[in-house]
């Protein structure tokens, strides 16, 4: 059987009729007990399982997914990877993710197609230029690559933008993070799944949690649609459904679930080779390797668990896109979808032990979870393995809400979620 992916193995398999490939991950029946259980087969859960095995040697692990892996927000985002945040705590966590992404294809022996094509965040007024300068300064002080862009710099990287002086959102310049880019979202899920499975993790799909096993005030396992499974360390990374599981475990979270929509156009020839974000129109856009224009925007305005999205926000996003790129009016939309994201009041994630001992949570990434997958996995794995916070995750504990030590990135970096 061919285990390692390489040009040579591809060539050999080509000669052998492609018959030697093994499934990328095993699908075993769940055992009765494990050393650790990870709930949620999205990027964060799969990464947690992988790093539990790789970094901590804990391989007797079950990863439980109610549907199929990568079928939630991991398959519903706009694939942007970046770390342009404001507070040092945020920079530490997002840059950990960014740096791990940079080595991920080699680490996993799975091409996640990271394309560091750079991202420009536009400024449409003198005031926005000043805020951009503040953001870029903060990033540089925190050791993240960032530059101020003049309007000529913006024109150089994205000449199709609307530079008309009469534009509703005239472009005065912007900020630039050259290491930002995109990655193939399915490959991130599948690569982590393959890596975890090889190290011994049981990946169990179509296995929904129906309740927690609570004994002596501690979490001792889960009841699932595929039977009861016990472990003394349980991690959950279920994004927009965190409140649903928290209710089963007997606590509440500072989370509101909203639909975040995205859409893609029909594929066209290369026209846009960076990621463009406009705080003014609230739209971010890039072009996929297949040629589709990938479009994202603001959250829906109605709390929701319906993975569809409502029409007014989609209309607003498309209007913003056409203001930025008038030529895109010729495109036809091919697909539209929504993921349910976990929005937290300070727009920062929640990582730590839950009010139910033995149950650890990783949630609250809101609209920005994809870029953080390697960090979320590393930090939740550290918590599950050691029972203690990693230095990087400590500021993101649930206790910050009672202490009032919020990390308000909506105010800090102007992100919309």
């Amino acid at each position: 059987m061919t285990r390692r992916y390489s040009a040579l193995s591809l060539f050999k398999e080509g000669l052998a009729g492609q018959k030697g490939w093994e499934p990328a991950w095993r699908s075993p029946e769940p055992k009765k007990t494990y050393d650790a259980i990870v709930i949620g087969g999205g990027g964060h859960g799969l990464a947690t399982a992988y790093y539990l095995a790789k970094n901590h040697g804990i391989t007797n692990v079950a990863l439980l997914e109610k549907g199929w892996i990568g079928g939630g927000n991991t398959g519903r985002n706009t694939t942007v990877v970046r770390s342009n945040y404001y507070y040092p705590e945020s920079v530490a966590i997002y840059d950990l993710a960014h740096r791990l992404y940079e080595g991920l294809s080699a680490d996993l022996n799975y091409n996640v197609m990271l394309s560091q094509r750079g991202m420009v965040f536009l400024a449409h007024s003198i005031n926005e230029m000043e805020i951009t300068a503040r953001t870029v300064n903060a990033m540089q002080i925190n050791g993240i690559d960032a530059e101020i862009f003049s309007v000529d710099d913006v024109r150089r990287v994205a000449p199709m933008l609307n530079f008309s002086p009469n534009a509703r959102f005239p472009i005065l310049g912007g900020g630039w993070q050259g290491r930002a880019g995109t990655a193939r979202h399915d490959a991130v899920a599948w690569g982590y799944a393959r890596g975890a499975s090889r190290l011994g993790v049981d990946i169990i799909q179509n296995c929904e949690i129906t309740d927690f096993i609570i004994e002596g005030g501690r979490c001792r396992g889960v009841h699932t649609t595929r039977g009861s499974i016990r472990a003394d360390r349980i991690g959950m990374a279920v994004a927009g459904h965190s409140s649903v599981l928290a209710a089963k475990a007997g606590f509440r979270l500072p989370v509101n679930s909203y639909a975040l929509q995205a859409c893609v156009s029909e594929p066209v020839k290369p026209i846009l080779d960076t990621v463009v974000l406009s705080p003014g129109t609230g739209v971010y856009v890039s072009q996929s390797d297949k040629g589709e224009i990938v479009i994202g925007g603001a959250l829906d305005r109605i709390p929701s668990y319906g993975q569809r999205g409502n029409l007014p926000v989609l209309e607003g996003v498309i209007a913003g896109l056409l203001e930025m790129f008038p030529t895109f009016a010729q495109l036809k939309l091919m697909r539209q979808w929504a993921g349910i994201v976990d929005v937290v009041p300070d727009s920062s994630p929640i990582i730590g032990e839950s009010p139910l001992p033995n149950l650890f949570i990783n949630c609250g990434w809101g609209t920005g979870g994809f870029k953080a997958i390697p960090a979320g996995g590393t930090l939740l794995a550290h918590l599950l393995a050691t029972g203690k916070h990693h230095d990087i995750s400590r500021p993101f504990d649930l206790d910050r809400f009672a202490f009032g030590r919020l990390l308000d990135e909506a105010a800090g970096s102007g992100i919309a979620h």
């Binding site: 459904h241 409140s243 649903v244 209710a247 509440r252 979270l253 500072p254 989370v255 509101n256 679930s257 305005r301 109605i302 709390p303 929701s304 668990y305 319906g306 409502n310 029409l311 007014p312 009041p345 809400f401 009672a402 202490f403 009032g404």
Partner: protein, 88 residues
């Protein structure tokens, strides 16, 4: 485009409405409220999947009201003026 019903103005476009929070989230009273109780009031939410009872405001007329709806299929059951609801 979804229509929500304002108890005062009737069915209107969803964009005229703004979500105001979960119904029944009462502000703690008194001077000896614990930090956890404050955090619970300020931040912790039921965030239900399915049937929900919420406060909404119709931004055109400025009235707050209770809306009962389903957070999965978005079907609205009722809109109730606040003075006739048991609590906000």
């Amino acid at each position: 485009m979804q229509l929500f019903t304002c108890p005062f103005c009737g069915p209107r476009d969803e964009t005229e409405f703004h979500f105001g929070g979960e119904s029944g989230n009462l502000r703690p009273d008194g001077t000896d409220v614990t930090a956890d109780r404050w955090a619970s009031y300020l931040y912790m939410r039921d965030n239900p999947k399915g049937a929900a009872r919420e406060i909404w405001v119709h931004m055109n007329c400025g009235e707050f009201f209770v809306m009962e709806r389903d957070t999965v299929n978005h079907k609205v059951e009722t809109s109730i003026a606040l003075d006739s609801a048991e609590h906000a």
